[in-house]
């Protein structure tokens, strides 16, 4: 294992949040290492076109791309080391342990650590969700954005939240044949709409974006319906039909309102789960917020967590969008620079002002949006007994239900059913199982705890980890 020493700050995650943090901290003289497992920086939104693509016209990729490029230019400094294609496996004793195909295992020490791992699509288990042709919005977006491939000839979009609208409009804008969009939340009530309007300050751009997205749909004559939810997907070997229905306030489908339609691609976007594994490994304190994706790390206004010298920024702390992610990154960078005495607290506060203001405005708006698109518990009740809940190990709801009669412990369900034991280590099914337990035992989902956090955060070859210089003699216990 190689050591990379002398870092003032290590940033995990090269999305907008992480890059902004690295940019601010490095501009104030900190030695920064920025790690991302992808080949290029940019994270979810500033996703770069893959290698081999000709990038003659930056503009064709939209303003986000340009914004991302500017941000990346900011970290082009000698005191920033960028480690791409580098996966963080664990954090232990003040070291970030990473793996890289050629460099092998490297351990980075740090005085401060920022964890900015982003979020991933909330998986929704409904009958047929594992059929080829059914995809998450994030996967479709990546496909269309970086490879310019449309997932189908007739795309049905089911989801919720502002990103569902943004996604579908983007897809249409890029020429993908979306033919219908459904949103589970009800048509905004006057109360919700007023709340949103009252918090519009500092968010006009988002409203403008939303209006633009809406007009893209209108122009393309793609119907957009509130208050409907996906019920099932069917087909011989691949997707042929989707069924959707009216949803009640809790997102339960209302019987008798089902509509079945032919299509060859179903794009599912019901929000995001923050990637919380690294926060849990370092033992950060959590709180529960379904709209932020369930358990979310607790942090102060600078992003400091309950663990000394560990900061949390961006979507990994609850999805609030890329503007907010950048502001969070800047604030964390400033606070760390001040803790390391590179700037005074006065300097910190005066520089922080616009970012803090932006963040407050974004957060106020976001929480109003969240109220509007409140995730309903019905999302966890779509599966029938034959629906697979754990994809990695092919465990169905029918196999899990009876075990839940005996226990309210996620880990026991896992031990007996194998749900959550596969490659993804429960990233996709644990929340669903927790919700089933909460439903069955009539308790809040926030009281059902996760399985114990363990490394590696991502699967990694034995050959990359094995280290013959570690000898057990010094460990012998007997």
């Amino acid at each position: 294992m190689k050591s990379v020493t002398g870092n003032d700050l290590v940033v995990i995650g090269g999305g907008p949040a992480g890059i902004a943090a690295a940019a601010t901290a490095s501009s104030l003289g900190l030695r920064v290492a920025l790690i991302d497992e992808r080949v290029t920086l940019g994270g979810q939104i500033f996703k770069r076109v893959g290698p081999g693509f000709d990038l003659r016209e930056r503009k064709s990729l939209g303003k986000d791309y340009a914004r991302g490029s500017d941000l990346i230019d900011e970290i082009d400094r000698p005191n920033v080391t960028v480690l791409t294609s580098t996966t963080v496996l664990t954090i232990e004793d003040g070291k970030v342990i990473t793996s890289h195909a050629e460099e092998g295992i490297r351990a980075l020490d740090y005085r401060f650590l920022i964890i900015a791992p982003g979020a991933y699509d909330r998986p929704v288990a409904f009958p047929g969700w594992t059929l080829p042709g059914v995809m998450t919005a994030g996967a479709v977006q990546t496909m269309v954005k970086t490879q310019r491939i449309s997932p189908g000839k007739k795309i049905f979009f089911a989801g919720s939240g502002p990103l569902a609208l943004a996604f579908s409009a983007q897809l249409i804008g890029l020429g993908a044949p979306v033919f219908r969009v459904i949103e589970s939340a009800p048509f905004p009530s006057p109360v919700n709409a007023l709340r949103l309007l009252s918090r519009i300050g500092g968010n006009l751009d988002l409203i403008r974006d939303a209006a633009k997205y809406r007009s893209v749909l209108l122009k393309a004559r793609v119907p957009f319906k509130y208050g409907r939810i996906i019920v099932k997907a069917e087909g011989e070997g691949r997707l042929e039909y989707v069924t959707h229905a009216k949803a009640d306030r809790e997102w339960n489908p209302i019987p008798g309102t089902e509509v079945r339609e032919a299509c060859d691609a179903l794009c599912v976007g019901y929000g995001f789960f923050p990637s919380h594994e690294l926060f849990r490994l370092v033992d950060c304190a959590f709180e529960y917020d379904e709209n932020r994706g369930g358990f979310s790390v607790i942090k102060d206004e600078w992003g400091a967590t309950s663990v000394d010298s560990v900061f949390a920024v961006g979507d990994g702390t609850g999805v609030t969008g890329s503007y907010s992610a950048v502001a969070q990154g800047r604030l964390a960078g400033l606070q760390i620079a001040s803790r390391l005495k590179k700037i005074t607290e006065e300097e910190r506060d005066s520089t922080a002002k616009p970012y803090a203001r932006e963040l407050r405005a974004r957060n106020r708006f976001q929480s109003a949006l969240n109220k509007m698109f409140d995730v309903g518990a019905g999302i966890y009740r779509l599966a029938d007994s034959k629906t697979v809940i754990c994809r990695c190990e092919s465990v169905t709801r029918g196999a899990i239900d009876p075990i839940i009669d005996s226990t309210d412990d996620v880990s026991v369900v896992k031990g007996i059913s194998r749900a959550g034991m596969g490659l993804c280590q429960g990233r996709n099914c644990q929340r669903h199982i927790a919700a089933m337990i909460a439903d069955r035992h009539q308790k809040p989902i926030s009281s059902v705890s996760f399985q114990t956090p363990r490394f590696p955060v991502k699967p990694v070859e034995i050959g990359a980890i094995a280290d013959d210089s570690v000898r057990e003699e010094k460990y012998f216990i007997t």
């Binding site: 664990t90 295992i105 005996s406 412990d409 026991v412 007996i416 596969g422 590696p456 057990e472 460990y475």
Partner: protein, 403 residues
Amino acid sequence: MSEFLVGYLSNQSNHEDPPRECDVLIIGGGLLGTSLAYYLAKEGTDVTLIEREEINREASGTNAGSFHFQIALHQLTPNMTNSEKERLASEVRLQVDAAKLWDNLEQELDADLGVHFDGGIMVAETEEEMGVLRDKDEIEKSAGLESHILTGDEMRAFAPYLAPDLAGISFCPREGHANPLLVGPTYAYRAAERGVRFRTDCGAESIEVLTGEKHRFKVTTNKGVIKANRVVNAAGAWTGELAAQLGLKLPMGLSGLHVNVTEPREYFLKSMVQHIGRRLTLKQTHNNTFIIGGGWPSRPEPYPKRYSNIWNSTSGNLAVALRVLPMLKDVKLIRTWSGVWAYTLDFKPILGESERIPGYHVAMVPTGFTLGPMVAQMLSEYMTAPKGSVKLPEEFRVDREVA
């Protein structure tokens, strides 16, 4: 596989308050506690078992599920004396008896427990290790455990997947494994059928010896007081802590152990593989994943936090695995975990009734997955027979002192 365990215990009754009194109170719902509950209930004993977490969530549900019928490697040294060899032979005889119990256990409990006797390979890298392997082979044969030594082309033909330059191997056809996630819960299920009351989320906080009352013990839990005629301390790693409350000093120690599990690969490794000189146990499960462990440490954490894993344990453990099975190089590690292992200073079980505190029993054994059910059966025989008619081995005594 899981079908049998569906509804194995009722979550609702498990969470009820414990009864105010009982004959035998077992503290701890690991394999020792659940199997003892089963054997006692089979003889008609009135049993309550309390577990402060969930059944089978500590060592019994976190171990590697290997049968250690062969001599454990930490017990072997080069140039052993004859008395050392005789002591080891007596242990092997106990292990052979345990193997017989496992032969019949799926039938006894009428359940699939994932029991397989696919043999065990012990590898030696050096000539010195080869010498130890030959001693081990000799002791085991003398105690009635079948064992074979293979070297050179014979070894390579028998186990072509092993590194070809190993000095040699021994093969024990009797070795095997079972699924640790199923055995404890199945015992619990069968015990509950026979009337044992299980209470989870119910921890023993203090124990008092009563005098001049109907019951001998008063156990205070987080869910009220239970009075019992007899108490069995089957609290695994916490056995010593609990016994200390009554002034008993048990000869035991604790260690966190590290385990690795990989993604599945096409099944090829039938037998468990161990190393005679280094810390390694490696097997391919029937889910086709590889479980790799062998005694690398994990880091203690204050209860109730689980012991955390140590990176060097993974990298060191996997290096030994690759030395022995180089073809695992590109198999992906997906998770590690750890459990707390309780061992005794002389490697003998602590089993029986305290002479100083009559009615107070202890059930603790280091290779508890392999030997747990058998020692529980021995203790049950002792507890259900008329006083004095069944004797437990002298060297298992609860009140013994170990230097």
